[in-house]
């Protein structure tokens, strides 16, 4: 097989730069998505029906439609109202964040509901408010149980960020497509990209395992 290493080496700087941006987009999305997800998850559990209903539909929409569609809707539909010209990088990050928030909201809800009801009652019987109980008693315990599913969400997010290529957000996949269309070569363009994602996800898996061990010790 005549594998053209020269293409790989020509595009290597772009692959590296793209991988860097993939990490940035994913990190921002998981970070803001976690915070948003907490509020959406709490809103989803609200006793007020209307509030709960709104968040249920937020979650339904982002979990029940392809993220590909969401990226296009956000980039071409929503973002033009907020910025001109629209930055694909921003669109991608927003789409990933809103999508991740929906999944993380459900992770939070599951985590919080997995905590024994007695914890809430014990704290409330000591005079603590609902908010104080949530913040000091329930969420810290739930968080520990949420680390594994949050890790999975992070890994999924990292891979989904490759869809940014279709709106020309310059992440790793984007440069694979660029190399492919410049030389009409498949292996040289996408093997390095695949290797890049694999390295990122394996590293992440390793770090998450360590984090879990650490939390289980304390």
């Amino acid at each position: 097989m005549d594998f053209r290493w020269d293409i790989v080496s020509e595009y290597m700087p772009y692959f590296l730069q793209g991988a860097g941006l993939t990490i940035v987009f994913s990190l921002v999305a998981i970070f803001i998505g976690t915070i948003l997800g907490l509020f959406i998850g709490l809103g989803r559990m609200s006793e007020k029906k209307i509030i709960s209903y709104i968040f249920v539909w937020y979650i339904n929409f982002f979990r029940g439609t392809p993220i590909f569609v969401q990226i296009l809707l956000i980039h071409f539909g929503a973002m033009p109202y907020f910025m001109n010209p629209v930055s694909p990088a921003v669109s991608l990050t927003v789409a990933l964040t809103l999508n991740a928030a929906a999944y993380i909201a459900e992770i939070f809800r599951a985590g919080i509901q997995s905590i024994d009801k007695g914890q809430m009652e014990a704290a409330r019987s000591l005079g603590m408010t609902k908010a104080q109980t949530m913040w000091h008693i329930i969420i810290p315990q739930a968080f520990k149980r949420m680390i594994p599913p949050l890790g999975n969400e992070f890994i999924a997010l990292l891979k989904e960020s490759s869809l940014g290529a279709v709106i020309a957000a310059p992440e790793l996949m984007y440069w694979g497509r660029a190399a492919s269309s410049a030389y009409y070569r498949t292996w040289e363009a996408y093997l390095p990209v695949a290797a890049g994602y694999l390295m990122l996800t394996l590293t992440l898996t390793y770090l998450l395992t360590k984090l879990e061990k650490r939390f289980n010790l304390s």
Binding site: D116, G118, Q119, E121, A122, A123, R124, S125, L126, G127, M128, T129, K130, Q132, H136, I137, P140, Q141, K144
Partner: protein, 240 residues
């Protein structure tokens, strides 16, 4: 201290408390006994508003309670509760279990909260367990911590819901001992328990519940030696 008038509590169609009225005076220890499902836990949970109720009135420390968030929290500062399954906070040390509520609810500073907590742990004989996590304690130790945690809020009334039912027999004594000491110090207590020995020794009054009613109440001697109602007699013949 506690006045309950015509309390009715339903879970859906199931009427669990049917027109309950009874009082608890200051420094009195009232023991509630009765078969499983008779509504003992529900009654206790109504007193500190862990359950809502359909009708009736509860007055605690001279104030009729309503279900506003503010009044609920106010009431609970005065009413401590101890649960069958302890419900200690597993992510906090024993000391932190005792200090969190005083610090968050009463805005006590850390030093005074720690000081008071240390004194309480000494009182229940667990000052050497201050810095460990609840998971490493035995059942009896957990329940003593739970009692100390409730006391840290300086309640005027303590409610106990079968505090020794989840314990191995050899640990029941140490928990009852702490409760007896509390009673001697003049704490107002309502205790749901199957420990008839405790009821006889410490109880000022024993209340027998069955099927959502208070069937009979009397001082322990009268109630145990000369129960008036057939249902009380049947129940006592089974447990004594």
């Amino acid at each position: 201290m506690i006045k309950i008038r015509n309390l009715v509590k339903r879970f859906g169609k199931l009427e669990v408390l049917k027109d309950i009225s009874f009082n608890v005076n200051q420094k009195e220890v009232v023991v509630v006994i009765g078969p499983s499902g008779s509504g003992k836990s529900t009654l206790l949970r109504c007193i500190n508003l862990l359950e809502t109720f359909q009708s009736g009135e509860i007055e605690v420390d001279g104030k009729t309670v309503h279900f506003t968030e503010k009044e609920i929290n106010e009431l609970r500062k005065n009413v401590g509760m101890v649960f069958q399954h302890f419900h200690l906070f597993p992510h906090k040390t024993v000391l932190e279990n005792l200090t969190i509520a005083p610090m968050k609810v009463k805005n006590l500073d850390k030093n005074s909260a720690n000081e008071k907590a240390t004194a309480l742990l000494k009182k229940v004989g667990l000052e050497d367990k201050m810095y460990v996590y609840p998971d490493s304690l035995s059942g009896g130790q957990k329940q003593r911590v739970a009692i100390a945690r409730a006391l840290a809020m300086e309640p005027k009334i303590m409610l106990f819901d079968e505090p020794t039912s989840a314990l191995d027999p050899e640990m029941v004594g140490e928990v009852l001992e702490v409760m007896k000491q509390l009673a001697r110090e003049g704490m107002t207590m309502v205790v749901v328990t199957h420990e008839m020995g405790f009821a006889k020794e410490v109880g000022d009054r024993v209340v027998f519940m069955d099927g959502g009613y208070i069937v009979e109440e009397n001082n322990p001697k009268e109630l145990f030696d000369a129960p008036q109602h057939k249902r009380t007699q049947d129940f006592l013949s089974k447990v004594l």
